[in-house]
Symmetry: C2
């Protein structure tokens, strides 16, 4: 009865139309919830779609609309918790919006590989790009490529406001720094992330602002690469000098490396040095000692990225421009200075 359309090929709107006794255009209207469709007609069409297990052909739709309903994510260091969580959040938010996510990995930060990765996404004709990578360079490359799709990243308050989502990384940096100052620390280092990551730059800015606001003499931040290995090496160096009592690390992995180095050098956390991380990775409460850190809401972040990208400004208009507030999680890696 209903299998006249089954010649090995998936049913299309014309098959549905024929079975429902309407034109293919009416079926198309039902698909796109066009307002002027009689309820009875819509129901009949939907019933047929369900019956024949109709699934719209994305390629055909993309061809005619030249919009793929796909969001591209340009990712770097994606096996790390922060980037991985962001991607996951973007994926979830996109799925809710009916969008697919394609990712493109950045093997290194050379100009060529950035261009290659962006082109890889463009060949899919993505409708927008989220950058989770060294944003400054990537943005430059994107602008040079004359990309016509919107692109965003995660940050707050900076030079790239047009392309940024408001997570208040600066506030997070201040939160962490203030916590250390309130504990009585006056000699505080900051282990920052790579400076062409906007998050890293914003957290560092938070550190500097809070230090100067509280009139604590500031030392130059150390520029790291997000990895625990780097944290370890930096920690070994720092313990040679030992002119500080606390370190604010720009992410939890580097904080872990720091703790390791401090212990290897025969000192204790938090007795000799207090450590604050950033991200609150799921392992942070199980570090030794459990890590004081700053938590951010990745899911909300992902939703806002996608919303911004799709120009879906009606979503979350209230407080949309406002930032997501990061939260300080106090555990056992911080305490008052020993001297």
């Amino acid at each position: 009865m209903s299998d006249d359309a089954e010649r090995g090929r998936a049913p299309n709107i014309r098959d549905v139309a024929r079975l429902a006794g309407v034109s293919h255009q009416t079926v198309s209207r039902v698909l796109n919830n066009h307002p002027s469709i009689r309820d009875s007609t819509r129901d009949r069409v939907l019933a047929v779609m369900d019956e024949v297990n109709y699934r719209p052909n994305r390629a055909a739709r993309a061809l005619v609309t030249s919009r793929s309903r796909t969001i591209g994510v340009l990712a770097s260091q994606r096996s790390q918790y922060g980037p991985a969580s962001m991607i996951q959040a973007i994926e979830n938010a996109s799925k809710d919006a009916g969008y697919l996510v394609s990712t493109s990995n950045l093997p290194d930060t050379s100009e060529e590989s950035i261009v290659a990765a962006v082109e890889h996404l463009l060949s899919q004709s993505v409708d927008g790009i989220v950058v989770i990578a060294p944003q400054v360079r990537v943005f430059r490359a994107i602008e040079e490529l004359d990309v016509r799709v919107p692109f965003v990243t995660v940050q707050s308050g900076g030079d790239l406001d047009d392309h940024s989502i408001g997570v208040d990384q600066v506030a997070g940096g201040r939160l962490a720094t203030r916590h250390l100052i309130e504990l009585g620390h006056r000699n505080i280092y900051h282990l920052a992330g790579p400076q062409d990551w906007i998050e890293a730059e914003a957290r560092m800015r938070g550190f500097l602002v809070e230090m100067s606001t509280q009139d604590v003499p500031t030392t130059a931040p150390i520029l790291g690469d997000w990895t625990a290995d780097f944290g370890y090496r930096a920690g070994i160096e720092l313990m040679r000098v030992r002119d500080f009592t606390a370190i604010f690390s720009s992410n939890d992995q580097m904080a872990l490396g720091l703790i390791h180095a401090i212990r290897d050098e025969g000192y204790d956390v938090p007795r000799d040095v207090s450590i604050v991380g950033f991200d609150d990775i799921p392992e942070a409460p199980h570090f030794w000692p459990p890590l004081t850190t700053v938590r951010q809401d990745f899911d909300e972040l992902g939703r806002r990225c996608v919303a911004r990208l799709l120009g879906n400004l009606e979503v979350d208009t209230v407080g949309y421009r406002g930032s997501i507030d990061p939260e300080l999680i106090i555990r056992k890696s911080t305490g008052p200075p020993a001297f």
Copy 2:
């Protein structure tokens, strides 16, 4: 001169054809490296393509070939190192093969969300699916959905050989277990992963095989969920009993939780209990104590997944059926038993 085709719209093969003085079909042949194209013709066409910055339209190609040159990845717990690394590796291998990767996240393990995630990928008409999730359930869902695309996962030697890539997880489990036995341990627990993850099942099998091969009495494995939190809770429980001197954990995160619990209960690693993990996450060397664990080559794994999926059997034919050998990394969380 060359901008007659620029009416705001990207150039297509007919534009290229006109400028090169050939038919659109010839351009198509050049694109698909058809053998019977004269070199001079090919060069002329390629020159024009380059000049007008031609980029083939993926949607149009997908429409007519009903192949999207996209690989779908069904992921779960993707913010964890293992899954995240696998996805990254798959992404890299796919890019080399000219394929794009779309991911679909599994918010939970319910039947409905599995079906939804699979359909999400199918709507993209992916050419194949890699499952990094509770494979057993997902495979069942895929089979029920009568999916026509190939799908694979990561494992070795099991019931699903048709759909698996040969990483010898069993060997990895044996390696870890043998290390503990050789150190003199006789009372060894295994903290396994969720049993519908094939990796988890294989590592557990490795544990059981090695234990019985070496004539060590075996205890029933504890079934975990991959998280450090679970490791911690399990550790607290286990330390109540304390009828063991070593634990082999199915991943590094749970091992971290175990160490935390052991220390919280007033015991020491490795003095009182030896711990072996699995994965060698980048943080493992910086745990306290640095974690003895098993490393696997994710990149090679990703390449093989993609190769298998694309039926690209000429790639790596030598040793293709053979397994990737995991490697034991001995650090400081293991030592001889105290008694």
